[in-house]
């Protein structure tokens, strides 16, 4: 168990150090997110009245796209740098590598969200400092990254790498995006608690089921890693 935890922490730390050196993933995710919001601003005419009903949707679409970019890049760099090759030679549980990669990806996505949310809040004059809403963002990101990391590990080994990931990921992510958007609207608009809780439950169920499956199946995705 201690060994497992150490492996996880090592993998996360490796990703953080790598990111601190080249800042590839975070900058591209961040700039991309802001661009998406900018485009939405023009496409949907986001004035103060209109944005009330679409804020949650716009934010989740932004996070979804940015998340895809992040997990894809983080797996692609494993492939180019050959780091995972080395890690796979180490006699540790492969699922620890998955948990490490997923936590690293989650961390990057959360950093982007922490920066994007205040900016959105200032630009469109919405109060985002609702604890419940932040919880939804966290839980939704967990499920999305859990599935995304596993699928990215497959898609980077395929021939059509970059275009394959969204095609695989988006339909599987629908059951988490719907409750995430709904629960976010619920908190931002102050809907009754029980209504929000039903959505929150779906998110939690998704997180648990898919994280468990991904942890189990990861080793079959990376054997013969090429």
């Amino acid at each position: 168990m201690r060994n497992y935890l150490r492996t996880v922490i090592t993998v996360v730390w490796k990703d953080i150090v790598g990111e601190a050196r080249n800042k590839e993933i975070l900058t591209s995710m961040l700039v991309f997110s802001l661009l998406v919001i900018l485009i939405f601003n023009f496409a949907l005419d986001l004035d103060v009245q209109a944005q009330e009903s679409v804020t949650a949707g716009v934010l989740w679409v932004t996070f979804t796209f940015a998340g895809t970019l992040g997990v894809n890049r983080s797996m692609a760099s494993e492939r180019e740098g050959g780091c995972l090759d080395g890690l796979l030679l180490v006699p540790v549980d492969r699922s620890a590598l998955y948990v490490g990669k997923a936590l690293g990806n989650l961390l990057f996505l959360l950093v982007v969200e922490v920066i994007v949310l205040p900016i959105y809040s200032v630009l469109f004059n919405v109060n985002m400092l609702v604890p419940g809403f932040l919880l939804v963002v966290l839980l939704g990101s967990i499920g999305y990254i859990a599935v995304g990391t596993l699928l990215a590990a497959m898609s980077v080994q395929a021939r059509t790498r970059d275009i394959l990931l969204p095609i695989l990921l988006f339909p599987l992510a629908i059951p988490i995006l719907i409750p995430a958007v709904k629960a976010s609207i619920g908190y931002l608009e102050g809907y009754p608690g029980p209504w929000i809780m039903t959505w929150l439950n779906v998110i939690i169920v998704y997180d648990l089921i898919f994280t468990a499956i991904a942890v189990i199946l990861f080793e079959y995705v990376v054997e013969d890693w090429s």
Binding site: L168, I174, P175, I209, L217
Partner: protein, 232 residues
Amino acid sequence: MEEKPRFLSLLDGISVILFLAAVLLVFFYAPLERSMGAVQKVFYFHVSTAWVGMLGFFVSALMGVMYILSREKIWDMIGFSSVEISFIFFLIAIISGSIWARPVWNTWWTWDPRLTTAAVVELIYGAYFLLRQAVDEPRQKARFSAVYAIFAFVSVPLTFVSIRMLRTIHPVVIGAGDPIGGGGFSMTGPMQVTFFFSLFTFSVLFVDVLWHRIRLEKLETMMNELRLASRN
């Protein structure tokens, strides 16, 4: 050259006879539904094709597990074949549903939970083909397909639940709201007989087509091997 198995030919015959019988039952035995009339008869094959679709997707997830545990190529073959067949059957179910919906709901398509789930499911399994196409190495292809098929099948009920909650007004009770909407009806005895007979027919048809598809895959593999051997 492998001979066509005797039992497969027999199954072909049985499928054809059952299918003809099902058509006869639908048109001459099942009574006309009072408010919807003749168009309701699409229901028997509509539900049956959708059933075969889900059955095949379930089989593919099961075969995914089997492949991962045993690494026998045959499980991958069965899994892939059943997704291929089910994809088409599910598409037929969506189209026949549209045909039914046009006169009854007055629209070809509505974002009702079942329809939306069906659309998402088709997209998920469409991605399955793209994934297979993008991987060349056969064992890697089989492994990825197995993993994806498991993920895909697990996501289907969650998709259904969340979309159903989205479309009903009171999401607290999952069972609330009539999913059939305006087209609801209760089945009389002959209707039930026809319905279950159609389900049975399509299940047999599924097994038959699946067997053919697996045989085709095997023959193709054999042919490729022979071609390689002749080149050397």
